[in-house]
């Protein structure tokens, strides 16, 4: 199995693969796919089942499921079902959403440093949230409060801008141009957000900063269900992408010669990844590093083929964030860390190691 690494060109890897395993193709991938995904799924399920049981408050499982105690008085059950379970589910959704969009952006932009934040979708969501916080927005839709709604609206707005830029070039946008445009949009939206924060009341600024550090304590299922709507659309888009992303990673010319409609494929990838990012950031705030680190970790384990990388990243991203949130809420009990700090502390050094392990 060839090792994908940011320090190697993708073309080297595909040539290597073709030389090393002449029989690799659908027949070779399928059993590996099934085994790998089963393992990842098993790990994710175990993590998600154990996480609600662990926390800063001792909870007795027998009391949690004791039907004899009315729910309105059952503290253990409320801790489990209201405080912890939605958190674990939200962490799983946010983690998988960010990881998937990270994979797609890295392939789409042909850049290992790309992340869900690169194209400005995350900055758009943050701007929406900051506006909602500063102007004390008071709307609630289907049980979802104003800030996540505004965050999602912001991400859709940013996506619209990026989409228009991408659609402006009829032949498909070369990765670099889209990347630079995305960085510019991201910087502009972040600057507007900071401008608003500077002139806001001190309390509102403080509250925005808190939001920007990420929080998975959703305390209910309505925001989760709402986030699942765009996420499901995104997943439908992702399902069409694995082979296309493999080819796009090599280069648009090779992809075109194989009959791939590049323009359409790029747009599907862009929209799906942005919806997934928007849903995740609106739900849990802009959690750093998940979208950029998880794809690399997963590729180290399963290789570069997107048929494996996409589902494995979704599962690993979910487990990763559930574990990070678990650490965030227990390590300094009773005080809780924002989950974004834990992911950055774990992600940063790991990333450095990844970059330099070929040198050391």
């Amino acid at each position: 199995m060839s090792r994908w690494s940011p320090l190697r060109e993708p073309t080297e890897i595909s040539v290597e693969k073709a030389a090393a395993s002449p029989r690799s193709g659908v027949a070779g991938v399928a059993p590996r796919l099934a085994l790998t995904l089963t393992v990842f799924l098993a790990v994710t399920v175990v993590v998600c089942l154990l996480a609600p049981l662990i926390g800063s408050t001792p909870v007795h499982l027998s009391r949690v499921f004791d039907r004899g105690i009315p729910f309105a008085e059952n503290v253990d059950a409320q801790v489990f079902f209201i405080a912890r379970l939605p958190r674990v589910v939200a962490a799983a959704i946010v983690g998988s959403g960010l990881a998937l969009s990270g994979v797609v952006f890295q392939a789409l932009l042909r850049n290992p440093l790309a992340s869900p934040d690169t194209l400005g979708v995350s900055a758009g969501a943050s701007l929406g949230a900051v506006l909602a916080i500063t102007f004390h927005a008071d709307v609630t839709l289907a049980g979802v409060p104003a800030v996540p709604l505004a965050g999602f609206a912001g991400s859709v707005g940013a996506l619209a801008i990026v989409y228009v830029l991408a659609a402006a070039r009829r032949r498909g946008t070369p990765g670099t141009a889209l990347l630079l445009a995305g960085i510019a949009i991201s910087a502009l939206l972040a600057a507007i957000g900071r401008f608003i924060q500077y002139f806001a009341d001190f309390t509102d600024t403080f509250r925005s900063v808190q939001w920007l550090m990420g929080s998975l304590d959703v305390g209910g299922y309505a925001p989760i269900l709402a986030a699942l709507v765009p996420l499901t659309v995104a997943l439908a888009g992702f399902a069409t992408l694995p082979r296309v992303l493999d080819l796009l990673s090599i280069g648009p010319e090779s992809a075109a010669t194989r009959g791939v409609d590049i323009v359409r494929a790029e747009r599907v990838a862009l929209v799906s990844a942005s919806l997934s990012t928007g849903a995740a950031v609106a739900l849990g705030g802009p959690v750093l590093f998940v979208g950029i680190i998880v794809p690399h970790i997963v590729r180290l384990i399963v290789g570069p083929e997107h048929r494996l990388v996409l589902p494995a990243s979704a599962l690993f991203g979910a487990s990763f964030l559930v574990v990070c949130d678990l650490v965030a809420r227990t390590i300094l009990a009773p005080v809780e860390l924002p989950v974004g700090i834990v992911t950055a502390i774990l992600g940063g050094p790991f990333f450095l190691w990844l970059l330099f392990r070929r040198v050391l």
Partner: protein, 289 residues
């Protein structure tokens, strides 16, 4: 390197400073006549002690008493406008102890300043005396004594009564229970709560502010939840119903979730007594009227 130079007879002290040094009193000619106050608390104190007619400019966030709305604004903690301050030709600037850059600039301009440090409830009376002696306000001593007496009175009235364990929330995300900011076991809000006859459910956490998760609220099980809001945040309709999801919390079960709005909760000045009285009335309604 900043120089804390001050003019000969001005005292740059915080609330814990030498309050007694002002006992010598200032002759009318020595009293500052053009005072600029950047701190909402000190602005309220100055007006309450009878020196309001000598205040020529205030900070951006000062709103009480109503007279200050007519005064020019010169910025606040993060963005003091030095040019505008100098343009007011002050002979005393009351600012935050942490505004060291501003202090340096005022020293260079040979303008005396009074550095105020945010303290806890007992420091309110101390600050009033210190500022009073600095500006030569005759009403300061009476004001400070009155505040101390009223606080002692509240303490006496709630003494011996059982103290409900109380969660004091000063902020959260609107419409949800995310990013709940609660007052911890130290600071101004905590002191007011304890004086008013409450037990702080976060008394063991030695911080002024604690971010609470829903799990923490369930685990700590407060008997009373009080949300405090400043007056501009109070404009929006209350959304206390979000607490209903945590029905196992005694405060929710017994319908003891309250919203108290007003600037007296966020400004540690003379109106802190009003805030404390409101807390006491909420926690022990049977004792107050």
């Amino acid at each position: 390197m900043s120089l804390s130079w001050t003019a000969p007879d001005s005292l740059a002290l915080g609330p814990a400073g030498q309050a007694g040094a002002g006992a010598r009193g200032l002759a009318p000619a020595e009293r500052p006549q053009r005072i600029v106050s950047l701190v909402p608390a000190t602005t309220e104190m100055l007006f309450a002690m009878g020196a309001g007619d000598r205040v020529v400019a205030v900070g951006s966030y000062d709103h009480f008493p109503p007279e200050v709305e007519r005064l020019p604004r010169v910025g606040a903690l993060l963005d003091p406008n030095v040019e505008r301050i100098l343009a007011m030709k002050p002979d005393l600037v009351v600012l935050y102890g942490t505004q060291t850059d501003l202090q340096t600039q005022l020293s260079r301009a040979r303008i005396p300043y009074f550095a105020y440090s945010l303290g806890s409830l007992p420091d309110v009376a101390l600050s009033i005396r210190a500022i009073g002696s600095r500006v030569g306000a005759s009403g300061a001593e009476a004001l400070a004594t009155s505040i101390e007496r009223r606080l002692a009175d509240i303490r006496a009235r709630v003494a011996g009564r059982p103290r409900p364990s109380t969660l004091l929330v000063f902020g959260r995300e609107r419409g949800s229970l995310r990013n709940i900011d609660a007052s911890g076991g130290s600071g101004f809000l905590h002191d007011m709560l304890v004086t008013a006859g409450g037990a702080d459910v976060l008394a063991d956490v030695p911080r002024q502010s604690v971010v609470m998760s829903t799990e923490m609220v369930l685990a700590r099980a407060p008997d009373v939840i009080i949300e405090v809001r400043s007056s501009d945040e109070a404009a929006a309709p209350p959304d206390l119903r979000v607490w209903d999801t945590l029905s196992a919390v005694p405060a929710v079960k017994n319908r003891r979730v309250y919203l108290l709005a007003g600037d007296e909760f966020v400004v540690p000045g003379p109106r802190a007594v009003t805030a404390t009285e409101r807390f006491a009335r909420t926690l022990h309604p049977e004792v107050f009227r």
